[in-house]
């Protein structure tokens, strides 16, 4: 059994590699939002309160193209629908009252959720909080720089920063796929292949649905790959 030893410091450190990329995308969000006619305060407020990059880009692009307010809200919320299953995964590991839970939930974005994963279905709330706070600061500060001073850095994609996100997710996925690890649930023992099957099936579902569904739906549907866990399997006793 692994001890839950990671804390706030580890959370902040784990997410540091991404803070620069998040800040750069925050700047481009600020620039785009200002160009879409949102003014100075509204984009910063949106980054503070909605705090979800792809959803904010979607809402702003709808508004910038002259779309209806309702369309912008629906596009953003479809992209954020994946946070429903993500929230369920962290729920059992949170302590404290409703406001503490909501704070953890608000600071849960893909990246903080991913670095807080301990593997085998465990999540570390301290890592989540610290990592989420770090990303929030980078995102809000980037947005403020973008709306205030315009396009300082150009397109973050020119620096390959868009590739930083899948690389981090892959780096966090890899340890979950290495078999024979100890885990939190006595009575559940993976024969080693299940996490790999779930990851491949999740990726396949997401890519297969991408051309046919609104953005955001593929990742929600991919979470259904975890239902593989309902299929009985031969349990291999692992002595660890």
């Amino acid at each position: 059994m692994t001890e839950q030893t990671r804390g706030y410091r580890e959370g902040a450190r784990a997410v540091a590699p991404l803070a620069i990329a998040v800040g750069a995308f925050g700047i481009s969000f600020g620039v785009l939002a200002r160009a879409a006619g949102m003014g100075v305060l509204a984009p910063i407020l949106m980054s503070m309160t909605t705090f979800a990059g792809s959803a904010q880009f979607a809402a702003v692009s709808v508004l910038g193209a002259g779309g209806a307010a309702a369309t912008a809200v629906i596009a953003a919320l479809l992209l954020n629908a994946r946070y429903l299953p993500l929230g369920i995964t962290i729920a059992p590991w949170l302590e404290g009252g409703v406001w503490s839970r909501l704070l953890h939930a608000h600071l849960m974005v893909d990246e903080s959720w991913a670095v807080a994963a301990e593997g085998e279905g465990r999540w570390n709330p301290r890592v989540l909080l610290a990592a989420g706070a770090g990303i929030w600061i980078a995102w809000v500060a980037g947005t403020a720089i973008g709306v205030a001073s315009g396009d300082l850095i150009g397109d973050p994609a020119a620096f390959g920063m868009d590739a930083a996100f899948p690389a981090l997710f892959l780096a966090l996925l890899a340890p979950m796929l290495r078999g024979g690890k100890v885990h939190a649930f006595p009575g559940v023992r993976f024969a080693g292949h299940r996490p790999i099957q779930a990851a491949v099936l999740g990726a396949a579902i997401a890519l297969a649905l991408t051309p046919f569904t609104p953005e955001g739906i593929p990742i929600v549907a991919a979470s259904l790959a975890c239902l593989l866990g309902l299929i009985p399997q031969r349990r291999r006793e692992v002595d660890t």
């Binding site: 954020n80 299953p85 993500l86 369920i88 059992p92 939930a105 996925l173 999740g202 979470s223 866990g229």
Partner: protein, 103 residues
């Protein structure tokens, strides 16, 4: 309220509802034990999807572009147990390099 105000309010409230539904409604209870095997696979399933969508899609299009080269470089770095910072930097540098060569 202006329509921009409504967008800000409804997007923020909707997002916190989606993020907070699990944490608030489940209220610290452990999920039923027979779901343990399912929840343990949620991480791999969602991370697999996040890797795929962030690498091989552009809007509703399936694409293979320079990000795939960056991800392959990241996979090699992960194979040799490089720290996360190195993995992320390698992916960004390789992707940027590939774009510079192509563009």
């Amino acid at each position: 309220m202006t329509s921009l105000g409504w967008v800000l309010l409804l997007t923020a409230l909707g997002t916190i509802a989606l993020k907070g539904a699990g944490p608030v409604l489940l209220h610290g209870r452990a999920l039923p034990q027979r779901l343990d095997g399912v929840v343990a696979l949620a991480g791999p399933a969602l991370l697999g999807a996040l890797v795929a969508v962030n690498t091989f899609t552009d809007g509703q299009d399936l694409v293979v572009d320079e990000r795939a080269i960056g991800l392959a470089a990241a996979a090699v770095a992960i194979r040799f147990h490089a720290p996360a910072l190195a993995v992320v930097v390698i992916a960004a540098v390789v992707t940027a390099g590939a774009r510079a060569l192509v563009g």
